[in-house]
């Protein structure tokens, strides 16, 4: 599979003089779960709407399965499944009716798999959508998406509103899709979820993609938290690449953050003072997130 499923190149979107997307570039490959994260209002949903052909890009290009997302939207949508972040359902239809309708729109029938998903997610399909809570509306959309055979799945904050058990079922279902070689674009605010499930990540901020890569790649860009105890006194604050150095609770204990590329030099310098104990914590996605978002 050399051809990426989704390919976005310098995508731009302007509404009049207002720029909604400035510069979006990333690709999603088959067999990959791709995380799409960024603060509220950064442009995640606008990007997804453009990908669905709901709004038209002002510049750049975006293709899914090699087709233009605007011109060939109907062709693309035959092999695509989507779960919006804020699921709005027809209030006077039942959940069961909506699931069936959504499947039929793709030419698929209600299957044993659909029934399994309804049981799994514990949805009462006989209730009118008007009476559903946010989590239940979300389940209707998820059940319809998972029981539809597609090659590319887009989830826009799919687990907001789900309870932890259903969140777990969601994650299992996505990993199963990955094993079948499907491509998944997952926009989420739940960073532990992204960290656990995604092979690669793009971070969007101020309508621009500012970082793309694996979590391991990104870790190199930030600092590792170190707690160290040495035999002889040392002042690590003077070393290059050290930040936020604090004296620890024990004698000769220090806590500090070190830039990834300075780590070997720092450890070598500290080793001369005979290291007694050392713990290093790699940055979590949350650290990365705060690092990028907090940056002015």
């Amino acid at each position: 599979m050399t051809q990426p499923i989704l390919q976005i190149n310098h995508l731009q979107k302007r509404f009049g003089t207002f720029t909604a997307l400035h510069d979006i570039t990333f690709t999603v490959n088959a067999g990959e779960v791709f995380g799409f994260i960024g603060p509220n209002g950064a442009g995640k949903s606008t990007t997804i709407r453009t990908l669905l052909g709901v709004i038209r890009a002002s510049g750049g290009s975006a293709t899914i399965f090699g087709h233009d997302v605007w011109r060939d939207r109907v062709t693309i949508h035959q092999r695509l499944a989507y779960v919006p972040g804020d699921v709005t359902l027809w209030p006077n239809l039942t959940g069961g009716e909506i699931i069936d309708l959504l499947l039929r729109l793709n030419g698929v029938a209600h299957s044993a798999r659909t029934d399994r998903l309804i049981t799994r997610f514990a949805l009462d399909p006989t209730k009118k959508a008007r009476t559903y809570s946010k989590g239940n509306r979300q389940k209707v959309a998820l059940i319809a998406a998972f029981s539809q055979p597609a090659d590319f799945y887009i989830f826009d904050e799919p687990t907001a509103g789900l309870d932890p058990l259903n969140e777990k079922y969601f994650q299992e279902a996505v990993l199963a899709l990955k094993q079948q070689g499907k491509a998944v674009l997952l926009s989420s605010h739940i960073l532990s979820e992204v960290e656990r499930m995604c092979d690669r990540i793009a971070i969007i901020r101020d309508d621009t993609i500012i970082e793309t890569g694996t979590l391991a790649d990104m870790r190199h860009l930030t600092r590792t938290q170190i707690t160290i105890t040495t035999q002889t006194p040392v002042d690590p604050a003077a070393l290059p690449g050290i930040h936020e150095a604090r004296v620890g609770h024990q004698v000769n204990e220090w806590q500090f953050a070190v830039e990834a590329d300075q780590l070997p030099g720092v450890l070598a310098a500290l080793a001369r003072h005979q290291i007694v104990a050392l713990t290093s914590t790699p940055p979590t996605l949350e650290d990365l997130f705060l690092h990028y978002y907090g940056k002015e």
Partner: protein, 551 residues
């Protein structure tokens, strides 16, 4: 902390939320009233001019539409004005009150705003109370402006007391149906069914009013809309109707408050049953989905207008009897000529009703087309956008359903009229023939097609222009409906789409006009489709207008 805590704050919020609607309704209603009054002063200023119209106003057809003529031979301009215009103005004000009342209560509840508010320290009746104050303020303001405007217009024969009876009477009639809408909002389980319930009651009181006016005016007191006619502002101003309005309004309000306090938020008396676990075989695309959602509303329209048509038809025998207004006819002409004259009367009356039915039937059609825009913004179409459903299919599906709905509604009313009308006649031969029935249909369809084509154009290219289409429908209808009474100049009438074909079935169909009207309607629809396929969705389409020119 009583049940009304924070009503003031909520009222201010309601006025801010609705100020544009309120302003628009107020300006239109008062403006129409004053324009008509000014026109009356010029065209029916002298007794001779009034005598010229009196004969026409006494015909049962006009009585069925505008109310009975109860004036003596020396009627003044002001009396004729009040006699012909009061009911019409009251009808529009009732529509305003129902729409504002449901919007302020049940609609807010459906969107979850009421729940958000109720979590704060507000009284349990405060949202309802705020709606009551809003409805009272708008109706009263319009009434006061009407009264002041009438004083300004200075119709010959107008009195100070009469002007204020009209103003307050219209305010009270609008208000009472507003209170009825608030009660419906408590009884039904969501905004659509609440609107349906309120209109069903409104329709019922219109039917009672019409039937009793034509056949037994004493019983008009049974209908709240009939009370408007009993005000008699410039002859013997009555205050009893005002008291009745007040009493009925308070009764509705009281019941609404009781229900509001004992029911669950978001629920009505009509409780929700468990529905289907799987979809019916037929539910498989955007069009069937639309019908699945809307069939109750559509059936409600068809049923309602069929009853209205039947009621208009029920008076055929009274209307198609020229001897009632002209007893010497039989001596002058033979029996054959008499029946021909009777047939002509029925034909003219039916043509006017056809105009009313066409205008009314266009309303649900336009609502369905505009629903495409509302569904887009409210997120209901989100799920469809990610599926292989083309925009052509969506727009054509909505437009096609709209055309079908309007045709069904028109056919319902028109067959109700002709069937019941012909059945009610003593001389069946006086009634409408099969070919006249079809001519009526052929004359109405292109008009509805044009209005719906305009709707499709607007929804595709310029969704903010929806109000323009509603305004145009209102103008076209009013200019035709009141055109003769107001002696409007030809150009003013010909701006409206109803004027492009001669009225049917009392005139023959001009197939050339029908063809180009249908052609124009289809072109409008196609331009709308072209823009819709190209524009951004889920936005207010500000740049969509430019896109029309870049196709």
């Amino acid at each position: 902390m009583g049940p009304f805590t924070q009503t003031g704050q909520l009222t201010r919020l309601a006025l801010r939320r609705d100020w544009w609607r309120l302003l628009l309704w107020g300006v239109s209603l008062v403006g129409l009233m004053m324009a008509v009054a000014a026109k009356f002063a010029t065209i029916y200023g002298t007794p001779a001019e009034i005598a010229g119209i009196t004969q026409a106003l006494k015909t049962p057809a006009i009585v069925a539409l505008f109310g009975p003529f109860r004036l003596g031979t020396h009627a003044t301009t002001a009396q004729v004005f009040a006699n012909e215009m009061l009911l019409f103005m009251a009808l529009i004000q009732v529509v305003m009150s129902i729409s504002l009342g449901i919007h302020a209560t049940r609609h807010e509840e459906d969107t979850g705003i009421t729940e958000l508010l109720r979590a704060h320290a507000i009284g349990s009746l405060a949202p309802l109370q705020a709606a009551v104050i809003e409805l009272t303020l708008i109706n009263l303001s319009i009434g006061i402006l009407d009264a002041l405007g009438l004083s300004l217009a200075g119709l010959p024969g107008a009195t100070w007391l009469g002007n204020w009876v009209i103003g307050l009477g219209l305010a009270a009639s609008g208000w009472v149906f507003g209170m009825l809408a608030l009660l419906s909002a408590q009884l039904a389980d969501h905004a659509t069914s609440a609107t349906g319930l309120a209109y069903a009651l409104f329709g019922l009181s219109y039917l009672v009013r019409m039937l009793t006016d034509v056949q037994a005016p004493r019983y008009t007191w049974l209908s709240p809309l009939g009370w408007v006619e009993k005000l008699a502002p410039y002859q013997q101003p009555r205050l009893l109707p005002l008291i009745l309005f007040g009493g009925l309004g308070l009764l509705c309000l009281g019941s609404a408050s009781v229900w509001a306090q004992c029911r669950d938020l978001g629920a009505g008396i009509l409780t929700i049953r468990a529905g289907r676990a799987t979809a019916a075989r037929a539910l498989r695309g955007p069009i069937t989905l639309l019908w699945r959602q809307e069939y109750r509303v559509i059936m409600g329209w068809v049923l309602g207008i069929t009853v209205l048509g039947a009621a208009y038809g029920a008076v055929f025998d009274t209307i198609g009897d020229i001897l009632k207004t002209n007893p010497t006819m039989q001596q002058v002409f033979g029996t054959n000529a008499l029946h021909a004259a009777n047939h002509q009367l029925i034909l003219t009356y039916s043509s006017t009703i056809a105009l009313v039915l066409t205008a009314v039937a266009s309303i649900p059609g336009l609502q369905l087309i505009f629903k495409l825009y509302h569904d887009d913004l409210s997120g209901w179409l989100d799920a469809l956008y990610a599926r292989p459903v083309s925009r052509q299919r969506l727009l054509l599906g909505y437009t096609g359903s709209a055309v079908t709905t309007s045709c069904l509604v028109f056919l319902g009313g028109w067959s109700g009229l002709v069937l019941v009308g012909n059945f009610s006649l003593t001389h069946a031969a006086d009634g409408l023939t099969w070919s006249e029935f079809l001519t009526g249909v052929a004359g109405s369809v292109p008009v509805m097609a044009l209005l719906l084509g305009l709707g499709a154009l607007v929804v595709g290219a310029w969704p903010q222009g929806r109000l323009v289409v509603w305004g145009y429908l209102a103008y076209a209808f009013i200019s035709q409906y009141l055109g003769n009474l107001l002696q409007l100049p030809h150009w003013a009438k010909s701006l409206g789409v109803f004027d492009w074909l001669p009225t049917v079935p009392d005139h023959a169909i001009n197939w050339v006009t029908v063809s180009w009207e249908l052609g124009l309607a289809i072109s409008c629809g196609l331009i709308g489709l072209g823009s819709y396929v190209r524009r951004n969705l889920q936005s207010h389409g500000s740049q969509a207008f430019h896109l029309i020119f870049t196709i």
